[in-house]
Amino acid sequence: MSDNNHKTPQTKPRYSATFDEYTNSEIRRAAATGIYDIRGAGSKRKLPHFDDLLFLGASVSRYPLEGYREKCGTDVVLGTRHAKKPIHLKTPVTIAGMSFGSLSGPAKESLGRGATAAGTSTTTGDGGMTQEERGHSTTLVYQYLPSRYGMNPDDLRKADAIELVIGQGAKPGGGGMLLGQKITARVAKMRCLPEGIDQRSSCRHPDWTGPDDLEIKIAELREITDWEKPIYVKIGATRPYFDVALAVKAGADVIVLDGMQGGTAATQEVFIEHVGIPILAAIRPAVKALQDLGVYRNGKDSVQLIVSGGIRNGADVAKAIALGADAVAIGTAALIALGDNDPHLEDEYQKLGTTAGAYDDWHEGKDPAGITTQDPELMKRVDPIKAGHRLANYIAVMTMEAQVVARACGKSHLHNLEPEDLVALTIEASAMAQVPLAGTSWIPGVSKF
């Protein structure tokens, strides 16, 4: 029976969890343009991550180290297996490969300055090595990529290490793209391309196809550089156990493992969000491969593991190392430290139809922060000395934060952290990181509840 004195109650409008606001806007955009969405950065969706892990500080059963007085080492040596000149870094926080072309010259210089001040390495990217970058980087890793844009043996010899890139976490199995807006005369000349065209980078190396060929390719790079330089192999996280095992078999000194949160200069949104696995799920299988091959923390024969993809603070660094990494690499976080997506540029982000913190159209070359652009006026906004200083500060903070956690766990070196120092907050994270669910001894897939 209806109550004539009152209006019929209405249910509130209900939005679909499946067809949410973002999804609907993408459907409308696709319908209007007929082309997929391209953007920069890594996966933005909520993923099982280091936040789902906690450290078990020392108590009665474990003995902590004094926070401000007792030594907690942070140094790392990379490339001991075959190289005559391994890399020695003061901190395990390194700078990931990012190209001149996707980034402005001043941004690359800032990365070099910041890394050098922090006692760590920085890395070139697709498109070759610039003089600014080499000049301002004490330790520079030279990426050897499928496109071989700007690749030349003189730069190979100038590098401190060589990173043979097979894939990256944002797009394992995919090539690169640099749209014409960023192919300025200098970028075009370095890459031997016509100015202003949309540049594609290959997804496969041109002169080797499988792991047996890779072994010969690595030997060639060693021969050309007289066995002096560590050779890293960078992999996008998909099948980490097998990919790491094959890279080790092929002769890698160092494995760089990049999860799907790792950034890219430009790739299809569908690729970034739907191909690859989170770094949390990739570390333990990678370490298992190293252990099974007898190269995990085994003196001179060791193959070191660098992990990347969503590293933001010292806790992430400590957790990655506790799970078995020797070092980490930061890309997106380093750009934020330089000034990317800074709220003080909100007015300009609004004009580009976005907002500070969400800007990811790095491929368009209109970055108000002057970082992901080749616009000569915009790039003037980056002061390499100040930006480099901010990056050095940030790396120092991350390193100190990792030490705080390690000392609380009673460790005199970050590398003494171990999976037994960790528990997981969720069943998913517990299964992926292979550490017990907090308050239990249960690891799904490993032990019974």
């Binding site: 496109s147 030349n152 391309l193 016509p194 065209i197 041109p206 010969i216």
Partner: protein, 230 residues
């Protein structure tokens, strides 16, 4: 000219390559012979002095890889990636070459007297390649710059996604790749071809017997209407 001989049956490759990477002042003008390569990989890679190296036999992968300045002659066949990423100098294969010959080479001249396998001249970045025989499928894929002369036939997908490299083919082309089309040879291009034929021991071959191919430049800017062509 002083000639030095290395026998890979008795001398480790590492020592030979290390010697070849020595100070240019002491190496320039030297003639070096490498005997018994027996298909060894990475022979004479990373040279950067004005030396004349002869490999007496078959070489494996990446022979003369990343060559600068030097002249390297392989008196046999070469494995994958011969003269890959060459910057300058001359690499001459008197036999056949396997896959990816001259891949990404930036400068210099690669001469292959026999046939070359798949993906010859892939991502070529400015070097010149002359193949006396035929080349396999997907040759000159994404070739960016340089001149590529094929006296025999070309396989499938020649010049797929090519940029500004120039292709000259005397025989048949099984198929052209995306965005590769036949071009009209102008006087300047004919001179380039004639010079390369002369330099590679084919002075008796008329440039008029070749067809030229290059980029139609329709895929230089990504556009949804071209999606079917990729």
């Amino acid at each position: 000219m002083e000639t030095l001989k290395f026998d890979l049956d008795t001398k480790p490759l590492r020592e030979v390559n290390q010697f070849l990477h020595g100070d240019a002042g002491s190496l320039n003008g030297k003639k070096i012979v490498i005997e018994n390569p027996n298909g060894a990989h990475n022979v004479a890679v990373g040279l950067k002095a004005d030396v004349d190296v002869t490999i007496k036999g078959h070489a494996g992968y990446y022979a003369a890889g990343m060559n600068q300045v030097a002249k390297v002659t392989i008196e046999g066949s070469a494995g994958s990636g011969v003269a890959e990423n060459m910057m300058s100098g001359v690499v001459h294969v008197k036999g056949f070459a396997s896959n990816a010959a001259g891949a990404t080479a930036n400068g210099g001249l690669l001469i292959i007297d026999g046939d070359a396998g798949l993906r010859c001249g892939i991502a070529l970045k400015g070097a010149d390649i002359v193949v006396g025989g035929s080349v396999g499928s997907f040759s000159a894929f994404m070739a960016q710059a340089g001149n590529f002369v094929i006296l025999g036939d070309a396989g499938e997908g020649l010049g797929d996604s090519i940029y500004e490299a120039k292709l000259f083919v005397r025989g048949t082309v099984k198929s052209l790749g995306a965005d590769c089309e036949e071009k009209t040879m102008n006087a300047e291009d004919k001179q380039i071809l004639a010079d390369l034929l002369k330099k590679s021991g084919h002075a008796d071959v008329s440039p008029d017997s070749f067809k030229q191919y290059g980029s139609a430049r329709t895929l230089y800017h990504f556009h949804v209407d071209n999606a079917g062509a990729y």
